[in-house]
Amino acid sequence: MKVIKVDPEKCTQCHTCDLWCGIEIGSEKKELNNAIHEKPQPVPRVYVEGNNFPLHCRHCEVAPCIDACPNGTMRRDPATGLVYVYEPTCIACWMCVMVCPFGIIAPSPSIHVAVKCDRCRNMEYPICVDVCPTKALALEEREEGATWYGYAPKRSY
């Protein structure tokens, strides 16, 4: 499966990634001048952390958020391996937030659903990787042989 990798040395903390994520993924209007006036305010799914580290959902091979979700709202796309929130059934219990090792699931107080990066699974290419002006982000194949509990889960993707 393909994941987003980060080169902090190339990141200049320009926040182009989260700005575009907020517009393209978070907003209704998909256009900056209109998006900034939307209520609730659109939120990005990528966080520029520390000084220069844009962090996304890592789409864990054995995802704690899927385990913790009590009604199957947190799902994995069997074709791509990407983990996503099926918003219609999210009941805002924040069990996924409680277990996410990276702290990238946002408990949205305004729309009462868990909000997180789905690596733009319905688009051809992730918007953040596309817009990064210094190429600090790259889409790459994940290495094989990932293990949890000393066991490598079988992949269909």
């Binding site: 385990d67 805002a92 924040w94 409680m98």
Partner: protein
């Protein structure tokens, strides 16, 4: 190979998935005392509140058993496990043989010894029938009393309050959720609930439930009488182990599991609310009856049953709740008793953050108001790394994973999953 699974909730279903990821052909017989499969216990209070329908309680599709070639015996309770003959016996004497058995029989509500507890309108909250009984009565209800300030009782009270019922919560301790919160954080929740009209009486206990056939009210230990049409008893749960009484399977509070989730008897495994596992925060074994633990234990048990070596690192207690938009997450040891602990607290008007450490490692935390980074703390707890050098970062709302990357690299053997490793690697395109 013949597998038998006792229990059809989180742990049992998770084990089925783990077994089927390795072994697609062997027979799996699953027995559940409940007639309704795949409903999420955790969500019953949301059903009472009217936030979700009965169908939306499902955490797996109804075709799950067929798709996974599981022969399900629903509404059928196992009355005995016979380790010597490697079989189980049903109430009517039928026996089923197994090569590997999983006990995931869950837990039941503790009964409270109070006069009048058998009257109509006194309910516990554990399964879908209990929830349905409450829903059926909600229209005719003016006031409901919840006895006990635990999470199940509180969630039920919150749900009834959302439905417009007047709710009174009677708590013996000095504050609600005494298992998971300290005084400061509990008072924030109590404040919010009281603002929304929920009456919380701390340091009080009910001594009698009064009424003719049906509940008409309760009497408190200070003599006060509260009129109500429903009494919810929420005094915690206990593991369902009675059907093991005549076996060699070791039971303390729950069925004792080793690190492969096997019981003291070979080929018999255990997972979920009935399992007693190594607790990462206390260093002792205990029953941590929560959904995420049940799922993980079920998977580890299932993998081992199917012949894959998998190791269960241990459990710890954690929970998340959100009443009236105030999110709260609690994990591990949150109130210290004894020496050797360090604690850090930070409170603002709407947020609270507490960290409990022992030997430089996180053993507990509470987050109120701002909870997004709770999982980072849970992971550091689970990985048992020394965090004494980064307390200011952990206590700050600025807490983020990127700044913890050096720590994960110093403890590479504990952060060896691919998701952590790849964050320390540059993309191929940028390597020269």
């Amino acid at each position: 190979m013949r597998y038998i699974i006792i229990g059809g909730s989180a742990a049992g279903i998770s084990a089925v998935e783990a077994i089927r990821s390795i072994d697609q052909t062997s027979s799996i017989e699953l027995f559940s005392g409940e007639g309704t499969p795949f409903y999420s216990r955790v969500l019953l209070s949301y059903y009472i509140a009217g936030a979700i329908t009965k169908e939306e309680l499902h955490f797996r599709p109804l075709e799950f058993f067929a798709d996974n070639k599981v022969n399900a015996h629903l509404g059928q309770r196992v009355s005995q496990v016979l380790p010597e003959s490697k079989s189980i016996r049903m109430g009517d004497g039928r026996e089923y043989p197994f090569d590997r058995l999983l006990i995931a029989s869950g837990s039941s509500p503790k009964i409270m010894e109070v006069p009048g507890k058998d009257k109509k309108g006194v309910v516990v909250m554990r399964n879908i029938d209990h929830a349905q009984e409450i829903v059926n009565r909600v229209e005719e209800m003016k006031t409901a009393c919840v006895l006990g300030g635990g999470l199940i009782g509180l969630r039920t009270g919150y749900a009834l309050s959302v439905r417009g019922v007047k709710v009174k919560i009677i708590v013996k301790s000095s504050h609600v959720l005494s298992q998971m919160l300290d005084q400061e954080s509990a008072e924030m929740i109590q404040g919010t609930m009281r603002q929304h009209g929920v009456d919380i009486r701390t340091g009080r206990d009910a001594v009698e439930i009064v009424g003719k056939e049906s509940v008409e009210g309760i009497i408190l230990d200070d003599g006060e009488r509260i009129n109500c049409q429903l009494v919810v008893i929420g005094k915690g749960v206990q593991p369902n182990v009675d059907f093991l009484s005549s076996t060699q399977i070791k039971v303390n509070e729950g069925i004792v599991a080793d690190e492969t989730m096997m019981t003291s008897v070979p080929d018999i495994y255990v997972a979920g609310d009935v399992a007693e596992t190594y607790d990462l925060t206390t260093g002792r074994t205990s029953v941590n009856a929560i959904w995420p633990c049940a799922f993980e234990q079920g998977r580890v048990a299932g993998l081992n049953m199917a012949g894959k070596k998998a190791k269960y690192e241990g459990s710890f207690r954690m929970n998340s709740l959100d009443f009236y938009g105030l999110p709260v997450i609690s994990m591990g040891i949150t109130r210290i008793d004894g020496n050797g602990f360090q604690q850090f607290q930070k409170k603002t008007e709407n947020t609270y953050r507490k960290l409990v450490l022992r030997d430089g490692r996180i053993v507990g935390a509470i987050l109120v108001g701002q909870v997004q980074k709770a999982g980072i703390l849970a992971t550091l707890l689970k990985k048992r790394v020394n965090v004494s050098d980064i307390i200011p970062l952990l206590m700050s709302h600025r807490l983020n994973f990127a700044e913890l990357l050096p720590l994960t690299q110093q403890n590479r053997e504990r952060f060896n999953e691919v998701e952590y490793r790849e964050l320390s690697q540059r993309p191929l395109a940028s390597r020269r």
